[in-house]
Symmetry: C2
Subunit: 253 residues, 2 copies
Amino acid sequence: MNIILLGSGRVATQLGQALHQAGASFLQVYSPTQAHAAKLATKLDCESISDVSKLRLDADLYILSVNDDALPTLSQQLSLTDRLVVHTSGSTPMSILEHSSNKIGVLYPLQTFSHEKEVDFSVVPLIIESNNPESLNSLKDLAAKLSTKVLELDSAQRLILHVAAVFACNFSNHMYNIAQALLASRQLDFDLIRPLIAETAAKVQLNLPSEVQTGPAIRKDELTIQKHLDSLKDQPQLQEIYRLLSQSIVNLR
Amino acid sequence: MNIILLGSGRVATQLGQALHQAGASFLQVYSPTQAHAAKLATKLDCESISDVSKLRLDADLYILSVNDDALPTLSQQLSLTDRLVVHTSGSTPMSILEHSSNKIGVLYPLQTFSHEKEVDFSVVPLIIESNNPESLNSLKDLAAKLSTKVLELDSAQRLILHVAAVFACNFSNHMYNIAQALLASRQLDFDLIRPLIAETAAKVQLNLPSEVQTGPAIRKDELTIQKHLDSLKDQPQLQEIYRLLSQSIVNLR
């Protein structure tokens, strides 16, 4: 299977490298920034292009792995008739690709990617979708080379999964970030709280979060809640977040 | 050092066991529920009592490890003159113990504890405080037997650390819980999102959260944010949380 990769960000880089290591062959990497395209193309042993008009039309699979807000424009620029075109977005309907080709699909890796840290794809859930059974099978085979967790979902289910991922990942990281800011305000090192973060995430690997919720809100410990709110009196937005999340913990109980 | 432990919950159990394994000897375990006291006393090779009036007065150290809201009443019941009395609470000032003894202090383990899962204390930050240098040294020596991370903080600093811990642990777990509820609403398994949670926590072990924030809010990707809010239209509280946290991510940037 010959692949052309459109995009050079975190997801494109990590997915491209994982596919390359799994034996897939790449023809081209496209990025509007030539330097970015060239950097990733070197890793994937293929040509780099920064002009969509230079896109080869003979690949088996085109993977659009760009920011969600760049997808509509990029997919409009493609006209690949019966070549399989997929995107890697969690929140974008497959239908956005309808103008690009007759054969379309999605390959969404449910993971957070860094520029530096390589991700072990074997445990990353890969969510696939296609508008035809043959392409779905191709995607299934390709995904199975990377991960033991391949799941077919439609665009509506994938959107909910993506929202869940925003809470579990982006918003959790923001909670860590607030902790970082609070510690910094008292010249305390973030390192103090790293074991707590690791243990909190480790607990839900074996339990459900609903079973292991701790803290003043779930205990309805109003005294402690009030002390915490008082200590945040100079930071009204943090107070608001504290109040809303404490209320939500009680409601979800 | 002879210790009496007042409390039988998660913190009391895990701290008691860790101290016992480190060679500390326990005289008594107190809990208002005799069965709870007896269970932990068996593990710590000591007597169990459920009546404060039966408390021995000759221990070197009394550890009050009960819920924050039970601390004021319990400490009022004690009259131990010159014996060292400490609590294990993050948010409670040391001064709450002033009526219990002349020698008071705090031994706060910054970690989340389960009933089932044993915690590796060697990496748990232990926050200590005392009203006299001699007791502070005793606490320092005791804490150093359990952990390589012993830190002296005053009550005000400890409170901020505790608030930070609520964000990093309790509120992060609530984010996981919301993800669990969203997935369940579409018959999707929580297992799908476990690798994402593990990776999100792993990333901040080497980086600062502020350096690795991802997601639509930090990208100011309004299109995706709107799709997510639309998908939560039947759940106004989740919409409110989504909006507030997205705004906070932008503000903290």
